[in-house]
Structure formats: structure tokens, C-alpha cells
Symmetry: C2
Subunit: 780 residues, 2 copies
């Protein structure tokens, strides 16, 4: 835990330069616009501790995998997020001295990520070895209005000298991924060009052949006036720059405007991308920094209008939740169905791949409730488009007849992960993809999605489950052997309750979906089953038999579901019995000891009870929570949120708040000692869930005539004065504000919304609000 970040409701602020934490600051101050992004690196040269990182969405490299002993079925490569050309660089040389904060005294250092307006600002006074003092103010952003553009305003002022100052704005593509398995470079140069105050470079990824064209152009002001300058073009391998030497007087401010564009071959023909980059550059520089920043402010204001969460009475909590929402919005905008939510977003390059089950299990509800419906829909379409590769993946592992196993980690639909116990066995991910279809339709009411895309995916996944189970003569039940559940501190177990449950649920839902699609659009249904050779009667019969005869491990004595077969052979003990100094166990215990212990990394049975809450009574949830919660070490960032939601539901408000705290400031406080690698983007959605589904008690239930019904059971944690969150629901925008005493629901939409508040039907009229007092009886 670190707490050098200044608490502020709308900003992430570093006061004073924390050299040793610089990589942490770089992570949390990352900028992104869904299309590209970069860590909070310095523009000028820096020889201290830093991870220079620039990333372009959807551009990846198939790094050769590194394994101990090769197992059949392993993928040959691991798609890595690529560290791409650095476009922010501006070297500053004062006569013969480089400005390098690692080599000079720094005072009045301040770095601020302004989340309200979406920019990063940094200011400091540096005293060079020669005694010269230079004051700098740098501000930059990645535009969310024009997602090909970035802009920097870099201002400096000599405080105690006159001198010639040389500036070298550059684009540098000679970068390596820190996590390259064999220390290879992943980019080749295609072409480059430098002109007066501008430069362009086009790079191509090896193997995958993505092209990225990056351009820059530079304007300089002195005394508030744009000046002409001499520009010396510089070209090295994968590097272009312009060098200008300026006469600078004491107390005179020089301002460099550096504009950049980043175009990738996801959107442009490689043959013309270089030309297009020049055209984009013209468009951007013509608009200018101030106008771009003005638009940026407005666009962010619009976003916040839709999804801000306000916490009164706790600045740390306020900052934490806004940080999470901000980063989620920077990472994924939902504009492009080929993109997804990488585990580190644009804040780092660790893990590689861009898509985990996190997307469906944790992120989807956030985008469902805070963004246009098409955003969540695009997340589903992403998987739909990769169905072919999921079927291919299934075939590779020995499954037949169109059975799909979606990958554990992917960039383009192909599996990237290779640890057998995960890649081949953590198959519950397949269920999450089915569940997301259900979740989306439940929330949006968009049943036609099932007709057009959903059913095809459901059938393919169900085919997998039907083949993956086997009949146990011993148990006279279907069993599922050799899986890893969400709790990755158990590997290769039999009959993981969660996996068995979600498998059986998928089969049930597919059977319902078949009937639904048949009735909604018989022709399209007929086309589909013909195309995918769906033998309706036989496959449904098999699925039904499995649903009716699936085995679920259960302890009749405690009346709890068992995480897997044999769980009770373990020494059952609470986390509190782990000797001091031995946590986190994944940094202190050998792997076999972790596996043999009863300790749970991440909600597993409880994850199932969270997904399928409707199917269990509250006392069942309580018994399982009481059994499993004390054994859970929450060493996955995705765990505490689920526990927090369950605790809220069970009225265990202190526990709910404790669990919420573990997620809310995970990166800001560097809770797991790994923020320097980048932020935990997907778990940020978990924090949002803990607030909205936990404290807010938001649920979607089947109401009259099978219509989705919005349900709210909000409360305000005792530590706070008020909590306000916004949600979209089927065309309406609502704000729910909860204090200790009452709940106010505002309806910003033009039609009335009826919902269930504390079990009572409440109608909130168009553009009005309802206030309801909280009685003690309403709280659980």
C-alpha cells in the first residue's frame, strides 16, 4: 500500500516528484481514447525508472510462446499487446545540457490527471547541473473527439539565464516490449518522411503485418506569438525528428505545440495509410490545441453526465470510483466491434491478449448500464465474429460437430494462453459468454439479438458442454472431470460446482432460446439450423438429459454446495488462521501448498450464486457465503466485488464496505504492489458493480408479461453522507441518490419509468423525481 497520491474528487495528483514510484504514477496517469493511448511518461528525456509505453488498439504481435514442457493442444504463439511508436517525445537541450529529471534538482513538481476534462498536466522547476533553472508546464491528451489525434502543449521558461535552447520533437518506433519472450523487436520500418516542423513514420508489425502510421507536426510560440524557426530533419532507423534551436531569454515563455496522429491498418489501407496520415495531420493542426482541448472537455462532460458516481463525505472513495470509471471509458468506447477490453488497457503491456472472461463477467454490466446499447452489443458481436475460431479451438482439443470453446485469452479469436490447467481446463469462460447474451437481452429487451447472433453462439457452446461432460456409472449422473474453476487456486478438479452449474444453465437457456427464436422468426431459425447442421430433436434431447441429470457436489450436513469433489478432505480453516506475514499466499507459499489448502483466490461457488441469484433462496446464499467467505483470500482483483455485492444483499454492510475498499483504490494505492506494470482495468468494472449492484441493489428481474423489471434496494454506506449513481435502462437515464435517510430517483428521460424500490412498485414520471424515505425494514 502506498498513499502518495493526493486525494481530490476529480483529479489524480502527484505533488512533488516521487522518483521511486514513477512507474506507478505512469500507470495511473495513463491516457487513452479507445483507439490508442499511452502511459503517463514524460515528454522530455528521462533516464530514471520508467516504463515507456504507447499502445494502439487491436494491433498485436504473436510472440513465440515460452513453456516448460510442451503439451498437445498448446497454441504456438501468444498475442501480445504491442508497445508502439512513442509520439510524445520532445528532447530539450539547454546548450550542452539535456533536460532530464533524473539528472537535476526538481522542485514544485506536480503531475495531475484531470479526469473531468481528460488531460494530463505536469509542471516543475528543474535546476540543471550548471545551475540554470528551467520552468516547465506540459499538458497533453488523446482526443476522444477525433480518436486519431493527440496533442501536447509543452511550455518552458528560463528562470535565471538567457541561452540557446535546442528542442527535438520526435517519433521513435525503435521500441521493444518489456515482456517480449525472446527479447525480439516486433516492428519493421516501412517508410518515413520529414518536412518543415513535421515528420511521419510508418511501421509494420512482423508476422501480423499491421501498419501504423504516426505523424507529428510542431508549432512554436514565444511571447504569445507563433514564430518561424529553422528545422533540421533527423532520421534514424525507425526514428524521425526535427531539431530546432531557439534563442530564449530569461523569463520568456516558449511554447511548443506538438500534434500527433496515429492511424492503423485496422481502419486504413496500408497502401494509402501514409498519405492519409499527412491529411489527418493537416486537419488536426488546423484545428489547434485550444479548440481540441475545448472539445475534449465537452466530450468528457457528456460522458460524465451519463455515468458519474458521486460520493459525498469521502474524497478518497470519490476519487477511487471516478478513477475507475474514467479508465474504463478511456479503454473501451464500444465504437468498434473488433476491439475489446484489455486487462491493462493502454496502461501497460503485461499479460498480453485483449480479451478475457472479465469482459462478459465483469465489464458488460458496466457498459450496459452506462453507455449506449450498441456498446454492450458490440462486445457480444466481438465474440460472435470469433465463433469460427472458437469452433476451430474446440476441434483442436478433440471436440466435434461445431462445438465451440472460446479462448481463455485472445486478440483475434485464437487462444493465446498456454498453461494447460487454464487453457484447456478453465472452461467456465465459455459459460460466461453464454451468460452475457442472456444478461444483455434481459437488460435491453433486445430479443432479436438472439435471432440474429445469439442462438448460433449458444448452440455452439452447448455442443461443447454436451461433449465435455461424461456419464459416471459410479454416480449415475453426468460429471465434468478435469476443470479449473474461477478459483485458480484449485487446478484440474472434478465437478467444480460453478462450472457444472453454468454448463447446465447454458444448456437450459439454449433450449429456451431455440423455442424463442423458432417463434420469433421461423425462417431465420430454419436457415440457421440448416447452416450449422443442428439436429434439433437429438441435440435437445441430449441437452435435456444432461440438465436433468447433472451432478452437483453438495454437503448435506452444512447444506452448502461444494466447490468441487473432495473439497471436504481439506483442512478447513479460516483465512485468519494463516500466520502473519504469509499473505498474500501466492507470494509466500509454494504452489502445491496453495493447491492443497482450502484457501480460495476468487469467488467460485459465490460467483455462481451471484450470476444465478434468482434460482436460490437468500438462506442458501447466506449459508454458502458464511462457509466460503472466511476461506477466501481475494488474491484476484476480481474477487472482492462479488463478495461485496453478496454481502450487501445479505445485509452484511460492514463486510460489503470492507470488500468494496479492497477494489476501489486497488491501483491508486498500489494495493497489490504491481501497479507499475499497469492498471487492473477489468477489475475497475468490479468496483462499479460493488457500488451499483451492491450498495445500489440494482437487479433486473422478470416482471409482468415476462418484461424486464428494474429492481433497486439502495443504501448509503455508513461512512458516507450520500451516494448518487446513474444508470441507463431501456432508453431511460436515471439517477439514484441515497442518503442515510432517503432515496431520490430522478428520471431524465421523456417517459415515465416504473421500478421496484424496496419491493414496492414506484413510478417516476418523465423528467421528474421521486423521493422515498428509508425505513429500517427496507434495508434488507
Amino acid at each position: 500500500m502506498k498513499n502518495y497520491i493526493t486525494q481530490a474528487p476529480w483529479s489524480i495528483v502527484e505533488e512533488g516528484f516521487h522518483r521511486d514510484f514513477n512507474e506507478i504514477s505512469e500507470s495511473v496517469m495513463s491516457l487513452g481514447n479507445g483507439r490508442f493511448g499511452q502511459r503517463g511518461n514524460f515528454e522530455e528525456k528521462f533516464t530514471g525508472k520508467t516504463l515507456q509505453g504507447n499502445y494502439v488498439a487491436g494491433v498485436y504481435y504473436p510472440d513465440k510462446t515460452r513453456v516448460g514442457w510442451w503439451k498437445n493442444g498448446y497454441p504456438d504463439y501468444f498475442a501480445k499487446v504491442l508497445n508502439a511508436a512513442n509520439w510524445i517525445g520532445i528532447d530539450i537541450d539547454v546548450e550542452y545540457e539535456s533536460l532530464d529529471l533524473n539528472q537535476c534538482d526538481v522542485r514544485e513538481f506536480r503531475r495531475e490527471l484531470n479526469m473531468q476534462e481528460g488531460y494530463l498536466e505536469r509542471s516543475f522547476i528543474a535546476t540543471l547541473k550548471s545551475g540554470k533553472e528551467l520552468q516547465v508546464n506540459a499538458k497533453r491528451f488523446c482526443s476522444i473527439v477525433d480518436d486519431e489525434a493527440g496533442a501536447i502543449r509543452y511550455a518552458f521558461k528560463p528562470l535565471n539565464f538567457d541561452a540557446k535552447i535546442t528542442i527535438t520533437p520526435y517519433i521513435d518506433g525503435s521500441i521493444r516490449n518489456r515482456d517480449a519472450n525472446y527479447d525480439e523487436t516486433f516492428w519493421d520500418e516501412v517508410r518515413k518522411e520529414t518536412g518543415y516542423g513535421e515528420a511521419y513514420i510508418e511501421l509494420r508489425t512482423r508476422k501480423t503485418g499491421f501498419h501504423v502510421a504516426t505523424g507529428m507536426c510542431v508549432e512554436i510560440e514565444q511571447d504569445g506569438v507563433k514564430i518561424d524557426y529553422q528545422s533540421q530533419p533527423i532520421k534514424y532507423e525507425k526514428y524521425v525528428a526535427n531539431r530546432m534551436t531557439l534563442d530564449c531569454r530569461q523569463d520568456q515563455e516558449t511554447v511548443i505545440y506538438k500534434y500527433a496522429v496515429n492511424l492503423s491498418s485496422l481502419n486504413y489501407d496500408p497502401d494509402t495509410i501514409f498519405k492519409e496520415a499527412r491529411q489527418s495531420m493537416q486537419r488536426v493542426s488546423r484545428k489547434g490545441f485550444d479548440k481540441m482541448l475545448f472539445e475534449q472537455r465537452q466530450a468528457w462532460a457528456d460522458k460524465w453526465k451519463m455515468n458519474d458516481i458521486v460520493i459525498d463525505g469521502d474524497v478518497a472513495a470519490q476519487q477511487g470510483i471516478r478513477f475507475n470509471i474514467f479508465q474504463l471509458n478511456q479503454t473501451y468506447t464500444g465504437e468498434d466491434e473488433r476491439l475489446n477490453i484489455g486487462p491493462k488497457g493502454f496502461t501497460g503491456e503485461k499479460y498480453g491478449g485483449s480479451t478475457y472472461w472479465d469482459t462478459e463477467a465483469y465489464c458488460l454490466p458496466f457498459y450496459l448500464a452506462t453507455a449506449d446499447q450498441k456498446v454492450a452489443r458490440n462486445l457480444l458481436i466481438y465474440r460472435y465474429k470469433q465463433l469460427g475460431k472458437a469452433i476451430e479451438n474446440g476441434r483442436k482439443l478433440g471436440f466435434r460437430a461445431g462445438a465451440a470453446l472460446y479462448p481463455m485469452v485472445t486478440m483475434n479469436g485464437e487462444e493465446c494462453h498456454n498453461e494447460w490447467e487454464i487453457t484447456f481446463e478453465e472452461i467456465h469462460r465459455n459459460g460466461a459468454i453464454a451468460y452475457a447474451i442472456y444478461d444483455y437481452i434481459r437488460y435491453t429487451g433486445d430479443e432479436h439479438y438472439l435471432v440474429d447472433y445469439g442462438l448460433e453462439v449458444l448452440i455452439a457452446i452447448s455442443r461443447f458442454w454436451s461433449q465435455r461432460v461424461n456419464w459416471s456409472k459410479e454416480k449415475s449422473k453426468y460429471v465434468m472431470l478435469g476443470v479449473t474453476g474461477p478459483n485458480e487456486y484449485e487446478n484440474n478438479v472434478n465437478n467444480n460446482w460453478y462450472t457444472n452449474y453454468i454448463a447446465a444453465w447454458t444448456l437450459r437457456y439454449t433450449i429456451e432460446a431455440v423455442a424463442k427464436v423458432k417463434s420469433l422468426n421461423p425462417d431465420q431459425y430454419a436457415d440457421l439450423i440448416d447452416r450449422i447442421h443442428f439436429r434439433e430433436e437429438k441435440e435437445i434431447e441430449k441437452a435435456t438429459h444432461i440438465v436433468e441429470n447433472m451432478y452437483f457436489p453438495y454437503d448435506p450436513e452444512r447444506q452448502v454446495f461444494l466447490q468441487q469433489d473432495g473439497f471436504l478432505d481439506k483442512e478447513i480453516m479460516p483465512v485468519s488462521d494463516i500466520p502473519k506475514g504469509q499473505r498474500p499466499i501466492n507470494q509466500n507459499w509454494s504452489w502445491d501448498r496453495i493447491l492443497r489448502s482450502c484457501f480460495i483466490k476468487q469467488a467460485d461457488v459465490l460467483q455462481g450464486l451471484y450470476f444465478f441469484e434468482d434460482e436460490f433462496d437468500t438462506e442458501t446464499v447466506r449459508r454458502n457465503f458464511d462457509f466460503y467467505e472466511p476461506m477466501t483470500v481475494h488474491e484476484s482483483s476480481l474477487s472482492p466485488c462479488v463478495h461485496s455485492i453478496q454481502a450487501s444483499k445479505l445485509g452484511l454492510r460492514d463486510k460489503a464496505y470492507e470488500m468494496y475498499l479492497r477494489t476501489a483504490r486497488l491501483d491508486l494505492d498500489d494495493y497489490n504492489n504491481d501497479t507499475e506494470d499497469g492498471c487492473h482495468i477489468t477489475s475497475m468494472a468490479g468496483t462499479w458493480l460493488a457500488v451499483v449492484k451492491g450498495f445500489g441493489g440494482l437487479r433486473i428481474e422478470k416482471g409482468e408479461e415476462n418484461h424486464s423489471q428494474l429492481v433497486l434496494n439502495p443504501y448509503c454506506p455508513t461512512h458516507w453522507q450520500a451516494l448518487a449513481f446513474k444508470i441507463r435502462f431501456q432508453g431511460a437515464l436515471l439517477q439514484i441518490t441515497t442518503t442515510q435517510l432517503d432515496v431520490v430517483i430522478e428520471n431524465f428521460s421523456s417517459h415515465p419509468v416504473t421500478l421496484l424500490l424496496f419491493g414496492q412498485s414506484v413510478t417516476v414520471n418523465a423528467t421528474s423525481q421521486e423521493q422515498v424515505s428509508i425505513s429500517p425494514a427496507a434495508t434488507v
Copy 2:
């Protein structure tokens, strides 16, 4: 399967050059003397398919490990057998043409490994591109009399030309391991020297700092007379050579004698090793090729006198068993307790490490029965000396108070393997090390080994088992969770029957051993328990409780032991149900599919019934054999031998012979398509076991007054006319010859031996023989 090797009783012969199989031939024609060895590479340059391999026993390199995701407890490095300096090289240039069998026509090619006399010979006629024909005969060996020495006689004759022929005998240390994880070189040069017709080089391994000094000296004969020559010294980085240009006439034979010495810092001080190498070289060259070869013949004849197996009526089987015995003797001589039996011996570099549980489980009985008692004892001492590191390894994984976990793979006692399911979980290896102590004492009667070394190891291993089990409230038994048994097609299972059994057995044997040592030598016992803080009462009480309450999975219906918990949840089916073309499953099925299947890689429950045969009645063995054998795919080279022995015991002679065939010619026929990487040295001991313990029915049982009793129940497989094998037993050397009709036992020792033959006590007098007819009743 390939069968290009000519069948011959005493030789491995390749007739005609099989270019595509060259790496296979190189493997099977490897030479070794326990101290160093090399693959059957060519002396002259060869640009075709080849794995150049020279190896020096005990000299290893800690290569950085390659893993997917790091797990706590993994070792940082993997000790690799090192490809060392090539001392056999002799380049031959005929004017401007190199002799290179990849670049010319080759006829009358013949390569022969003579196992009776211990040398490799090769002859051929090569037609160079110019049309020049050169006849070559090359013979070489690694001396088992002087284990620092090797010698080559390389003779060539121009058949249709006169020419100047340049020869370049060299030592080349600029080698890389083919299996280097990061393609690094492992050797640095220390010094080198060239003189007239001689050259020396000293290399040092990086990190481990082993020194190896290699020297060569060259003599040349023409027309049967030693000649003087001009010698041009050549030195490159890690390379020394002499170049001589000789006038050669048509039909005139030129003979090069190249002598070499290989000294390692295991036996010499690095400061003087270079000088010592020169002295050794003098000794060797003074002796000369013919005398060395004569001694080599005699020494091999002595070895064969002790351990030959004769099979009448089946040349392929005869060749196969002799090949196995020959390679085992080349790999390990038992002279040096720091050495062990590498899985590839000196025939290749795959796998790395030198010591697996193969040593104790498979190889020990071979050396016990065919070599001096000290050989087997040295194998035990090797582990005794590594006890400290095994305790350190246990501590690293969280075990305390002197609990030892011996490594899965090691060179110097440290763990080298890193796949968690093996490294941390395949802990039954610990039991095999305890069993080997029991096996050795049972065979030799050397109970003082227990006093001096054995008990200390047993207590440390027992401490591990006592901590590794846990009490299951559910079962009211001790359970052992998260293990991998000998059948590596199951990972991370609970209560593997074999592991639970050998753990409980170790505890039992340790309790007995404590009592034995106390009575044999109370003072030494007192010293020991003081030194290792053995709390006798408490530790024995705990051990006894575990022995009495260990859980063993069992199927009461079939009355078989269950390989592990949940085994009966699998779809039970025979190997014969695997569709054609899908075997071996490890090359055709994904890893998860293999894990979920019932198919068994390697004897597991049956391995336990083989080790602890005395503790089970024959019908129990039969039921388990009948249950497991049909599910066993034998995709480990160590599996069929155990099944063969059990089948022999159960009178299933066809099955016994079928299983024997799978091991006997594994490498010669390239059964697993991997002989090119090197031979399966340790499984060769398994073949010997199938003959001697299977067909021969050799057992050691407790006889009168607790003395070991030699038991024989031999038979001759119907395919053979006679089978004769030799064994040593407590000072006596016996030969047992079995035909279809009778058994003849010869006693070569000077005292009478009493043994149990077909259940009858038989005494064979000193230096005489007994003949017993086989009645049908005696056969089972």
C-alpha cells in the same frame, strides 16, 4: 518403427548409408566409459543430418529455466548435461575437396558397434565430385580400462588417384547444446596449446566453473610404417588443430592414429589440470592403439562374463538385450558415487539432469544383480550425500523439521524440473529412494548400511510424508491431496493409491529401521538422533497413527485398488477402443483429453503391487492386473517391463512376451520415433528386469532366521529355445539356463548356494551345476 539395423548377436550394424536415419544411428552407436562418451558421429566433416554430441559425466550447466507462468517454488535453473568439446574430429581434404559424406557418392558403407569388444567401426568408399575414390576405415573406442582415454584408428586409401591429402585432426570446443533454452553457449576457453602433432585445450563451464582439459596427439603410418610429417598448428577461439599435408599414392593406405584424453575438474585441480592432461596424453600415446584395444576387449569380456544374457533361437531378441546391457555398462560403472545414470547416458542431451527416480526404481536391481555390491551402494550414497539439499528443497516448499523431498530431476541434489504437477506433486519419487535402501539391504544383507547412512535418509523422508498427509474429517482417515502418481496422465489428484501406499510403507519401514539400528549400534543411533533432532517417541507415534489410519481408495465391487479418488467417474474403456491412428495418444490427443480419459501412461497401482508383492496375494494382483492392464497405453518406456513381470508372475506368458518386446528393441527399432535424440538408457534396465524378474522369476524373500532367500521361477518364452542369464547374489555368481524342458543352474562361486526353485529348496554346490526338469505344474 524402423528396421534398417542388421540383426546380429553381438553387434549393431548399419549396412549401407541411411542418411535420413543418421541421427538414430548416431544414438544407438554411441560409445561411453562411464566417465565420458559420445554419439556415433563421423570423424570427418559431415554437412548432413547429425547431432554432434560429446559428454563428460558430472559436468553440467544451470541453464535458465523456461516456463510459461512462474509458480512459487520453481527452481531458477535446469541443470543440463553439457555438450562438450569434440575430440574425434579429423577433417580430410583431397586437394581442394573436402571429404563429406553428404557431398559425395558413398558405397560399401558399413557402421558397426561391436558390443563384445566395445568399439565402433565404420568403412566406406566415397566418390568425390571430381571422381576421386577414397576408401576409409575408421575404428574408435572410449577406453573402459583407462577412463580418461579414447583412441581412433582412421585409415584411408586413394583408389584411383595420387594426390596430396591434407588431414586436420582437431579438438573443437565451440559447441552449443541443441536444447539450450536461450541459445547461449555454455563454455569459456581457459587456455590452449599446440605442439608437433599434438594439441590441448582447457575449457571452463560458465556459472558452474567446471574445467575440462582435452588433449589429442596424432601418429601417422603409411605402408605400415610410422612417418614423420610437417604439422601446422591452428588455433581459433575454443579450437585447436594440427594440419598435415601428405603425399598419398593410389592404393596406398594412410593410417591416422588419434589419441585423446579428457580430464575434468571432478578429478583434478583446475590449476594443474592442463599439465595433467599432457601427462595423461603421454601415457596413452605410449601405450598405443593396438594395446589399448586389446585391453578394451579383455575388459569387456570380463564384464560380459558377469552379466551376459544369452537367448537362443531369436537373434533380434539376443541383439536387443545385449544392446541394453552394453549401454547400461557404458553409462554407469559405479566407480564414482558422485555420478548417476542419466536418462540419455552419453547418447544425447535431451531432458538434462542426470538422476530421476528411474535410478532407484529400475536401475538399482540391474546393478545389484550384475555388478559388485559397491556399485549399488554408490547409487545409495549419491542420494545420502544430497540429503541436505533434499531437506532444503522440502523447506522451500513449506515443510519443516528436517523433512526431505528429493528432487524429481537433479544433477547435484537441487531440483531442476519445473512443471508444478511434476516438480511439486510427483512426490512418490521420495518413496522410491526409501525403497531402494530396503531393496539393497534385502539383496546384499548389508544391514550396516542402515546404521551408517540409511536410517538418516529414511527419517528425513518419513518426516516429509508425516507432514504431507492431512487428516480428513470427512473420511476419518489420513489423506494425501494434490499429487501426481507414476501415471503422469493424471495430474494433481487426491489419494493416489501408489503414493499413499509407498508413503505408509516408508513410515512402517522407518519404524522398523529405528528399532534395528538401535539394536545394532545404540551409540551410533544416539549420535544420529541427537544430530538430526529426532524426537523418537513423538515422531514414531505420529508415524504409527498414520500407518494405521491411511486411506486407500478401493472399489469393493471389483475388489481392486483405485488409482485415485474419483477414478470410477471416468468412462472406463480398454485401449483397444481407441480409434485407429490415434495412438500414441500423447501425440494425437490434447492434454486435457488425455487427463480426462481412463488411459494410463505407466504402471501405477501395478507398480505398487510389483514393489510390494509380498504384501498381496496373487489373486489381488490378478484382479488389479486384469482391471488396469487393458487401460494402459505404455507411453512411458518404463511401463511395459513392470507389466511384463506381473504377467509372467500371473502365468500370462503371451502378454509377458508382448510387453517384453515393447521394451527390448525400443531404441534399435526407433519404436517411439525419438531415438535420434538419444537412447532411453534407464528403461534398458527395465528390459533386463522383464527377463530376469519376469522370465527368470527372480525374487528375494525373507527365508529362515530372516535371512534373504533367493527365489527363482524361470521359464523360457515359447519363441525361444533357451534363455540364460547370470546373477550375483551375496558373493556368488550363478548362471540360470532355461529351455522349454529344463533349468540348469550353474554356480561359479567357491561355496554352495541354496535357493528356492519352483518352490523347492535346491542347493547348488560350489563350481558345479544342478539340472531340474520343468513340470507343467511348476510353471505358475
